[in-house]
Symmetry: C2
Subunit: 342 residues, 2 copies
């Protein structure tokens, strides 16, 4: 489809543009050592590349900038997998030591470090809790009127929520119900808790007084109606540093989206394993039309999948971002496997 020379020129333009954010002219390309043609030749090739849709201009006599199709081709066919510096690799490895053995910490830390390393915004979506199993249920009375319910999963996820305790309910009642629930429910996948309760536990509870029913209702409300999309975002303000967002209006609208979990979480949910790169208008959301989102999935056990993503301008350091994300998600999957699957 593209001649070797065209590919070279396209690659040079994209590499340079990623670095400088400025349109690239033929003379500048010709100056490079790895390019042996005159500006005029390059101009001809660039005109062809523009006809094919790989490049575009900011105005009729400006240098060229990559189009989204250009980036797409670059990403699919030309990207040399950047060798990460040994410093970076070591830093990544050092993150997955003994301290990272709790999902919250892993995700928080991942978001933080990756945004530091890339200077892009990092989004980490926790694994769907559906496959995780109940490890323990616990009620801690705080005072006459309130108590805290704590649910621990086998992934080390701790969920807690306080609730009001009506005066007619005694703490000892709650305790008994919790005991029953623990007995029957430990080891049950969170997603089946509801069903399991229906079929096995309800009967048992009904044998006791009506207060038990009320206690159960309380706990049920406190813990099982939880929606737990755990989203961690770090380095939001990095996006401000990109010259693409010198226009404050663009920054504003993107920030509005990033502030809202509801809008971000769905974009990250994916079934496709491995890396996925969405360039510009490939992103459904309009405010992200001048952004690239690279998502990678990590696994926890067999079916649980979480997502980790980098959000930057379309003019992204693809090679570095991809390499880092790949390295990270692999380490993360391995590390999680070590910790939660034996």
């Amino acid at each position: 489809m593209l001649t070797e020379r065209q590919a070279l020129i396209l690659k040079v333009i994209i590499d340079e543009f990623i670095e400088t954010a400025q349109p690239i002219g033929s003379r500048n390309i010709a100056k490079r050592e790895d390019v042996a043609f005159s500006p005029a030749t390059i101009r001809n090739e660039m005109a062809d590349l523009e006809d094919e849709g790989f490049l575009s201009k900011t105005h009729s006599s400006s240098g060229r900038i990559p189009s989204e199709k250009g980036y797409r081709f670059y990403v699919d066919h030309m990207m040399s997998p950047l060798q990460l510096s040994s410093d970076e690799v070591r830093l990544v490895q050092s993150q997955f030591d003994d301290r990272m053995i709790e999902m919250e910490k892993v995700m928080q830390n991942s978001a933080h470090i990756l945004s530091e390393l890339t200077q892009y915004t990092t989004l980490v979506l926790g694994p769907e809790v559906y496959e995780t199993k109940l490890k323990q249920l616990q009620i801690v009375p705080i005072n006459k009127q309130s108590a805290i319910a704590i649910l621990v999963t086998d992934t080390g996820h701790v969920e807690h929520r306080s609730f009001a305790v009506p005066s007619e309910i005694d703490h000892s009642d709650l305790e008994k119900v919790v005991n029953i629930l623990n007995e029957k429910l430990v080891g049950v996948p969170i997603v089946y808790l509801d069903r399991m309760i229906e079929s096995e536990v309800i009967d048992l509870i009904n044998r006791y007084t009506s207060n038990f029913q009320k206690s159960y209702d309380l706990i049920q409300k406190a813990l099982f109606n939880h929606q737990t999309t755990s989203l961690y975002v770090s380095g939001k303000s990095n996006i401000l540093m990109q010259p693409e967002f010198n226009d404050i209006e663009k920054a504003r609208s993107l920030f509005n989206v990033m502030e809202s979990e509801d809008q971000i979480a769905p974009i990250l949910k994916t079934n496709q394993e491995g890396l996925k790169i969405s360039i510009g208008h490939e992103n459904e959301m309009e405010v992200m039309n001048n952004c690239t989102l690279i998502t990678a999935t990590y696994t926890l056990g067999e079916n649980q999948i979480g997502t980790i993503a980098l959000l930057g301008p379309t003019r992204m350091e693809y090679a570095k971002a991809v390499s880092l994300l790949d390295l990270w998600s692999n380490h993360m999957s391995q590390s999680l496997y070590r910790w939660f699957n034996d």
Copy 2:
């Protein structure tokens, strides 16, 4: 110090400037119904006010804008305590119902609602945990190599941290240590835990095998070396909406600060009860020299004090911000008292 007429003019200028963010000219002031003087008179008064330092100009023939001293005078002597709309009052009241009975939720929700209501950035600093007391300690084993320690305080604060369990330590050992700790330490203020352990518990533990010592060390590490400044920030991007931050560089540097808990938390820590308003250069931090920070304290019990703050441009809607923050912190203190002090 100021004549009545000067005060009126100053107030009008500040009110108008807060609304429009534009320098105010004498003609515009004269047009207002509550001002009965000619532009020339007003100009004379404005010149005097400028000499006194209450006003300044953006250039030699521009209208006046309030100086920091002007805002200070306004805040100290002239601010009419805005009657909040009944909608707003109702909204605030409705926030402190049965669902708000857990510190994390209270703070998170406070930050969120206040930033929505004011369109400024809201910062909430949790109460120092020093006075809170241990309610319960709990260890939940996750697998052979890891366990989660959970600490619940009498304020409903849940702290959890996972830790690696060396192979030579048995879970039953951990359990026994936890039992001992619970027996001795429930009800002890968090800040005294260390001392209490030294004096009372250590002996007890030393009577048992050395494994107990190791178990204890583990738990100690996992739970008691926690630094728990709980800071919640909401509406960071609101600051972008203010025309003061159309200059993207200013926005960038302020964002950098807001992203870092370490820099924000100290500013909020205060002993002074009640409201405090820091205008412009009254803020120590340089990036906040064109901002106003209004902090209010709330109490939980006798000595525990937390802070809730609004951060906006110096051209802030002081009356509204102050009224809201006051209303909120009072409700919050009352609500917390109801929940955690009986």
